[in-house]
């Protein structure tokens, strides 16, 4: 797009690359190297750029001395279940919006799309008594249900825009062969829709995995706590300043989601920007 043959252009290009690149990537580098430094090296006023001595001590202490593994397990269960529920709901709703016509279809869809304007914190005020009266406060099912708030609207829209591209001829041909609509959807449309479905699953999973607000409020018991509040309550309090452990734990809880994204990032970016909603 730009001509970078001149010296000034090269300088500007390189300068922007270094400045924004530093801002984006150095904090990640800092988390990794800080987690690998011994305490003597970590707590210095002038920090070392590269660890002089590597140690995995912070990782062992994060795993053995805190309940990190419990939190990770809880997050895995809660995020996996809520992502699965969200994906199933969004798959059917998206297909319904894309391929069927009925009264109220457009208003309902528009309404779901605008759901971003309902503040999550405000919804929580009323979800809390609802979950209490259903006996779901401080339970994983309660949290799983609440997580539908975050991702369902966008997930539905992402799948809607995908199903719009599935040719009607394909469905018509199957109908002509005498297949019922649900059967056609399950045996013909779904198998060719795996990439967007995986994208939507991952998108929903990420919202739950990253959440702090809902988990912190709706879960009270330590043994059901997920990683967000778990990390916060373990490492960020006035008396305890274990930054090495905090960085090691941060890295460990980020790994699963970062790895998943590295593999699926192309689908993912396409899916999210196609939705054109958050």
């Amino acid at each position: 797009m730009f001509d970078l043959s001149s010296r000034t252009a090269k300088l500007v290009f390189g300068g922007v690359l270094v400045v924004i690149g530093f801002y984006l990537f150095f904090p990640i580098y800092w988390m990794i190297t800080s987690s690998l430094k011994g305490n003597a090296e970590l707590y210095r006023v002038i920090p070392t750029f590269f660890p002089q001595q590597f140690t995995f001590a912070h990782y062992w202490s994060a795993i053995a001395e805190s309940k990190l593994l419990v939190y990770l397990g809880n997050s895995l269960i809660v995020s996996g279940a809520s992502a699965a529920i969200n994906t199933v709901l969004a798959v059917y709703a998206g297909y319904s919006f894309a391929k069927y016509r009925y009264a109220g279809r457009q208003p309902i869809m528009l309404f779901m799309l605008s759901a971003q304007m309902f503040p999550f914190g405000l919804l929580l005020i009323s979800l809390y008594p609802v979950m209490t009266s259903l006996g779901l406060l401080d339970t994983r099912p309660g949290l799983i249900l609440s997580y539908i708030v975050f991702a369902l609207p966008v997930a539905t829209y992402m799948l809607y825009s995908y199903f719009m591209q599935v040719p009607d001829e394909l469905i018509d041909a199957a109908r002509a062969d005498g297949g019922g609509d649900l059967r056609i959807f399950h045996t013909i449309v779904l198998p060719i829709s795996i990439p967007p479905i995986v994208t939507v699953f991952l998108y929903s999973f990420m919202w739950s995995w990253n959440d702090l607000l809902y988990s912190m409020t709706l879960i009270v018991s330590e043994d059901k706590r997920t990683i967000g509040p778990g990390l916060l309550l373990t490492y960020l309090n006035e008396t305890n300043a274990d930054w090495g452990g905090a960085m090691a734990a941060s890295l460990l809880v980020s790994l699963p989601i970062v790895i998943a994204f590295m593999f699926l990032q192309r689908y993912f970016v396409q899916g999210v920007t196609a939705g054109a909603v958050k």
Partner: protein, 315 residues
């Protein structure tokens, strides 16, 4: 799936296309039933976790509901009256505006710059693009930890750098000052949002007509003129999408601020989301919290309106 935003967002709401088959005459009631059946689970979930709580919160804002009240009592608009005359709530509005304004503007500039850069062909571009997603996908608590450590008052990176450069003589307690804490939450927010903005801009850059660019270049246009006259005008629709989504996301943001500063020092970074949370779940004043929350919805309405208008009227 397309990467083309202009295609992805229908120009008019009436254009939400429906398959020609179902539009054809002789529309079968059976098919309509299947369509509704498929929508039903999602609609029920939506009503249960979004619609009902929202209505409930609207109602609660008209009640006095604190730890002292056994059953909520209807008090009309008294909560709103109290909230709107409370200087702390107004302060929270101001903080929210600064936070959302600065972080959206900052992300816009840096996200656009980064997208323009990663749109140039160069070796390792794919790796850069993939790595850029990392700040976005790490959990919010983690990003708060990273930046809290960077801003740490005794051993933080920022203090270390500034001491090395002799710009300060003693380490500063950044997060204990109102300005420092605000700077930290804004920098964290920008850091987390650049990836998404970049993705949208990169998608938008594919709309730029390269032939037109080549022609302009033959006519002697320099890089800056190309950017101003040929690239930025094409990015206008994406720019609007990104700003609206950025503002909505910023207004919704709670996790990073809460984990990084807890809304402090004192109330310096208590944006509306933090304010509502603290009023509801620390002071258990549900009525007041709901009233602040309703005002918070009011701040979300303009961007949401723009967003819907974008869908309805086209750009």
């Amino acid at each position: 799936m397309t990467t083309d935003i202009a295609d992805a967002v229908p120009a008019r709401i009436e254009d939400y296309p429906v398959s020609p088959r179902s539009r054809r005459g002789g529309l079968q009631a059976a098919q309509r039933r299947i369509g509704l059946l498929m929508l039903l689970p999602a609609a029920a979930a939506f009503a249960f976790v979004i619609l009902y709580p929202f209505g409930q919160a609207l109602a609660l804002s008209l009640f006095e509901d604190t730890l002292q009240t056994i059953t909520p009592t209807f008090i009309g608009f008294a909560n709103f009256k109290a909230v709107l005359t409370d200087p702390e709530v107004w302060q929270s509005f101001g903080i929210t505006i600064i936070y959302v304004g600065c972080s959206t503007l900052g992300t816009l500039v840096l996200g656009l710059g980064w997208a323009l850069l990663l749109n140039q062909p160069f070796k390792g571009r794919g790796v850069f693009r993939a790595l850029t997603l990392m700040p976005w996908v790490v959990p919010s608590t983690v990003s708060a930890f990273i930046w809290a450590w960077i801003f740490n008052s005794r051993f933080g990176l920022i203090n270390g750098l500034l001491l090395e450069l002799h710009l300060i003589d003693v380490p500063q307690a950044w997060l204990s000052t109102p300005e420092g804490a605000m700077l930290a939450v804004i920098l964290t927010r920008i850091w987390r949002s650049i990836p998404l903005f970049m993705a949208f801009f990169l998608a938008g850059l594919q709309n730029v007509d390269t032939e037109q660019l080549d022609a302009a270049r033959v006519d002697g246009a320099r890089n800056f003129a190309i950017l101003r006259d040929h690239v930025l005008p094409h990015l206008r629709p994406v720019l609007i999408v990104v700003v609206v989504l950025g503002v909505i996301g910023g207004l919704q943001d709670f996790d990073t601020i809460y984990a990084l500063t807890g809304g402090g020092p004192v109330r310096a970074t208590a944006v509306l989301s933090v304010e509502v949370y603290k009023t509801a779940f620390e002071q258990w004043d549900i009525g007041t919290a709901s009233a602040i929350g309703v005002l918070w919805v009011a701040t979300l309405l303009p961007p949401a309106f723009f967003y819907l208008r974008m869908l309805v009227k086209g750009r």
